[in-house]
């Protein structure tokens, strides 16, 4: 008996933001990232019969998305004929001295590591958000990620502000718990 089963009807609510974050990290164009997420879901549906249930749904979907990202870069490169590599010796034209030495990565720079860590953090947070009850994750994401006004959210969801703050409170408490386990 397989350990995991697919529930395509819950995919969008559970994984769309998670996959979207992953895609945006690799393709900065949000429109393209959105399309890739959609294509991932379609491809998942198409090959649902091949799903053996050994991996969790999320892992399986992210594996499909990875392929989609690679395919995307292949496609845009082949459109141009071939991959183009443009490289100047230096972006600072007025730099003098040894050009090679100026290109060496700064070993003291922590910027690159920060980027990687922030992306992992983002995925960890999304994973925790997707474990929340649907209404809570919706309210939390509208408020925190999309930065919507309390009033607008209340209107859109037909709730009153004190409902909203209670949901935010539950969501935040659950997230702190979840991140405590998975991140720190």
């Amino acid at each position: 008996m397989a350990e995991h089963q697919l529930h395509p009807e819950t995919w969008v609510d559970k994984y769309a933001d998670y996959l979207f974050n992953y895609a945006v990290g690799r393709i900065s164009d949000a429109e393209v990232a959105k399309d890739l997420v959609q294509e991932t879901f379609f491809a998942g549906l198409k090959s649902a019969a091949n799903y053996k249930g050994t991996a969790a749904e999320r892992t399986w979907l992210i594996a499909i998305l990875k392929r989609k990202v690679i395919d995307y870069y292949r496609k845009i490169n082949s459109n141009k004929g071939k991959a183009e590599v443009r490289m100047g010796y230096s972006s600072q034209m007025d730099a003098d001295g040894d050009w090679l030495e100026e290109q060496v990565a700064d070993p003291l720079s922590i910027l690159e590591n920060d980027d990687i860590e922030n992306e992992e953090l983002g995925l960890a947070i999304q994973e925790c958000i997707s474990k929340l009850p649907q209404k809570q994750s919706l309210v939390f994401s509208m408020k925190t990620i999309q930065g919507m006004d309390t009033e607008d959210i209340c209107k859109e969801l037909g709730i009153n502000p004190s409902n909203l703050w209670v949901m935010i409170h539950r969501a935040r408490t659950a997230l702190m718990d979840c991140l405590n386990k998975n991140w720190f």
């Binding site: 922030n118 703050w165 935040r172």
Partner: protein
């Protein structure tokens, strides 16, 4: 002020939506209540983590569209 009320104000403060009086009451409460000041610290930590992670989310209307298209194919 009860701890429940303090927690709600603390959450509002994370989104800069607490009023001046609320903030003042919260600070007084936090001074006396260990549990709440711990919660408050954790809460701010969560806010700064969320900021640091540059989270993205798909707008709800895109999701609704996506859901419909998936349902059409199930």
């Amino acid at each position: 002020m009860t701890c429940e009320e303090a927690a709600i104000i603390c959450n509002k403060e994370q989104y800069k939506e607490a009023t001046f009086t609320e903030k003042f009451k919260l600070i007084v409460h936090l001074f006396f209540c260990k549990t709440c000041s711990k919660f408050s610290k954790k809460n701010s930590e969560l806010t700064s983590l969320c900021k640091k992670a540059h989270l993205h989310a798909l707008p709800e209307k895109d999701k609704v569209k996506m859901k419909k298209e998936i349902e059409g194919k199930i």
